[in-house]
């Protein structure tokens, strides 16, 4: 069981942490751009242009994984609809990018995106208003996933839907959104989604410089998301979350509002996922309903598992590792990817429930003095034992 001393706030914000945090940040946000732009493309260490958006994609996935680890690792809420919040954030950004195309579309309509002209829309649907302004878009990227999570979470946590039931209804939620966004008359481009972007804030989305900029923005986003998650989990709220993960009824009897704590962290997590989606879309150049598919959301859970649940760092590492493997395998042995992914699900849950980070920490000599250990996660709550 979780030893409370392991998550003591002492040392959480000490110089040791900041040194590592800044070093990782510099490596990702400065060294990569320098290797991309600063040295000859033929050099051994050079990062070619096509790698940059790929790295940017991984960083976005890392933010998404962080957002899931925050609720799953610390509050025991396994959301199988995390991809839905990611996709909603992505759609908000996609709508902004569509409005930026202007008359450069195939039909050259100054207001309507191509697919609307094609589907014979006469005017812009009301929910597209404002998406030509970047600030409005930023606001929506936060508000839309946040509001959905707030309403959904309020309904669910208030009536104490938890555990597997919550997982199943979050899955049903993303499935319903998948079906909805596939419809042409929803006004989001149906099956094809939103694509053919031209520029963002006046910069060409296809130019290597913009892509590098987006990559750096994603890294900064990851850093901010990590700090937020770390702050939340090391705060008093974080300890309440851990407690309710392990014994929900006991926390409730002690007078804490379980509903409010869960709701707060669930909404925060959805906002982070939305931001990840918004950073993701300009780098991959398309958003379509398949991002809502239940399979995608479950995959996020495996990133977190592989990296190590309840460790934050592990979630980010897991997202990058699994996706590196995916990129390599789907290219080299396309047939084998699903076997590997399936095996990852089985092996990590069965043999390495603490993931990569847990494995590293088990090798004692690598563990620095004073740094907090990953919180061991057991699915079996005390509450269940009490009730039995």
């Amino acid at each position: 069981m979780a030893d409370p001393t392991e998550i003591t706030t002492r040392g959480a914000w000490g110089p040791g942490f900041w040194a590592k945090f800044v070093a990782t940040g510099l490596l990702l946000a400065v060294v990569v751009p320098v290797l991309n732009l600063g040295i000859s493309p033929n050099s051994f260490a050079a990062v070619p242009d096509y790698i940059v958006p790929l790295l940017g994609k991984y960083v976005c996935y890392a933010i998404l994984a962080l957002s899931l680890d925050l609720i799953w690792g610390y509050a025991g809420i396994l959301s199988l609809g995390q991809g839905a919040f990611f996709a909603l954030g992505g759609y908000c950004m996609g709508m902004y990018l569509m409005r930026q195309i202007g008359t450069r579309g195939v039909y050259q309509n100054p207001i309507l995106p191509d697919f609307m002209v094609f589907l014979q829309y006469k005017e812009l649907p009301w929910f597209w208003y404002g998406f030509d302004h970047f600030t409005w878009t930023l606001l929506m990227i936060v508000l839309v996933p946040g509001a959905l999570a707030f309403i959904f979470g309020w309904l669910a946590f208030r009536s104490r839907v938890s555990g597997v039931y919550l997982s199943i209804i979050t899955q049903a939620m993303t499935y319903a959104l998948l079906l909805a966004f596939f419809r042409n008359d929803m006004g989001f481009g149906g099956n094809n989604g939103l694509t053919d972007y031209k520029d963002i804030l006046g910069w060409d989305v296809h130019s290597p410089a913009t892509r590098l900029g987006l990559y750096v923005a994603s890294v900064l986003g990851l850093g901010a998301a990590y700090l937020i998650c770390r702050y939340v989990t090391r705060s008093k709220l974080g300890r309440v979350l851990l407690a309710l993960r392990d014994a929900e009824s006991r926390v409730r009897f002690l007078g804490y509002s379980v509903t409010n704590a869960k709701l707060l962290v669930f909404t925060l997590s959805a906002v982070l996922a939305g931001i990840a989606g918004a950073l993701y879309v300009p780098q991959v150049g398309i958003i379509n309903p398949s991002e809502f598919s239940p399979g995608n959301s479950i995959e996020v859970a495996i990133w977190v598992s592989v990296g190590g649940r309840g460790t934050l760092v592990g979630a980010a590492i897991g997202a990058v590792l699994v996706n590196l493997g995916k990129t390599w395998l789907t290219g080299a042995f396309p047939e084998s990817w699903l076997f590997v992914l399936g095996a990852l699900f089985v092996v990590t849950t069965l043999i390495f429930p603490r993931g990569v980070v847990g494995l590293v920490h088990q090798l004692r000599w690598l563990r620095p003095r004073g740094e907090s250990a990953p919180t061991p996660v057991e699915d079996k709550p005390i509450a269940a034992e009490e009730q039995a």
Binding site: A156, R158, I168, I169, A176, F345, V346, D379, K380, A384
Partner: protein, 541 residues
Amino acid sequence: MAARLLRQALVSLAALVLLLAVVVPARADDFANLVTSLASDTFAEKEQAIVALGNFGDARAVTILLALSDDRLRTGPNNEVLIVGSDDPSKLTDAVTGAPVKGIAPDSLTRVIVNNRLRGRIEAALGGLTLFSPDRNTRFAAARDALKHPSSEGTARLQKALAAEIDPEVRGAMQTSLLAAQLMSGTKDEQLAAIKGLSGVTDPQIKNLLDEFRAKPDLDPEVKMAADAAAASIDQRLRLVGIVANLFQGLSLGSVLLLAAIGLAITFGVMGVINMAHGEMIMVGAYVAYVVQEFFRAFLPPGWIDAYLVVAVPVAFLFAGLLGVILERTLIRFLYGRPLETLLATWGVSLIMQQAVRSVFGSPNKEVSNPSWMTGGFDPIGGFTVTWNRLYIIFFCFAVLGVLALILNRTSFGLHMRAVTQNRPMAAAMGIRAARIDALTFGLGSGIAGMAGVALSQIGNVSPNLGQIYIVDSFLVVVFGGVGNLLGTLVGALSLGVVNKLLEPVAGAILGKIVVLVVIILFIQRRPRGLFALRGRTAET
């Protein structure tokens, strides 16, 4: 489409007609004269000839009229009418006798010219002619087709055809078409009689025809009133049929959901194991049906093929059940009490199974055909067809549910199973081998999923993604109905199916489904334990 089919039927009929032509030379002179006048100089004369040929009732005219409409009719040097072969333009046959003609230079032939008005006449005449075809299906199609262009000539032809017809179904169609023709072009009395006759029919086509008729100006008020009443009564019946059809489709969808969910009700409902690979067990069952079918095709006499389904059901049960036992022994038993991890691990298993099936069988859909006793359907009240495969699946699903209820409540295995799931240490203390019961229970749930797969192979595509289609739905059914409760699963599945299909005409297929999903999500908030929540001590575990 229908016109094309009719046309194909006509062409094949033409060959038969050529034979008949030799055997039945009766009134050959009249016929020959009419054929010759097809090649007249004016369109008016041609038109007369076409109508006359149509009413003549000689099936030989089919070939000639088809050739005329296809621009393949020629006149030779001696004014004889010739047909140019459709695939070989150099082959000529005499239109009247059907005998091959040789030795005529191509440049001595004159085309018989047709215009669109004539083509319309030809089509109507052909429709009438095929009423006399020796082939029952062609006659039936022609009788249905006559409904589309009711006319006074049609009346005469239909009366003539009706007099000779013996097949009751064809007679029915002919009578309906005859009434329609009388309605559109008959006297007042005929019209009234026709309206009376038509008001008992349930056919959207008749309804359209009546509407068209009612929209005519200067109708006799009495006739109009009768027509209005008839239209109203047809409307009402159509609405009723629509509801019945929706209910049946809903029941059918519900039974499919139920089949997919019964196995889950065992593994998730009774054992509490979240098996995300459940859908893949269904998929495996469907592939078993495919393999058994191919085995029958390859190794057994062709007459036995209809039995493949009967063999496939137990084979699928055993195969999927065995897979389930293996899965439980090698993976799931290590994860009891950790539902979220079970969910992830079994999701991994489902990915592996999908890819394995894809590697063995390939991604394209496999064709599993209905045995002959499951093809087609019947029309109980007119206007919609109950297909046999869906009806059998409804029966099958209730049979499975019934047998399962018996196993759970009446056998010692069922008793042990309930004991283990309710209180494992106590059951073990009483001498029940809990681990063995776990494996068998999981195998039972998986085996039922396999049988569901065989059933689903009869109404849908068999592809590696088959299981994914049902997994979200079947979990919702189990949760909605109340976990650990077969009755709840039954009510949950059927009500979801029926509600879904009743919403479809109002909201559209996809929107209807979204509405149902949202309603279930909201429902689970209200009653987290489902429709039929277990009460008491068992509910707490």
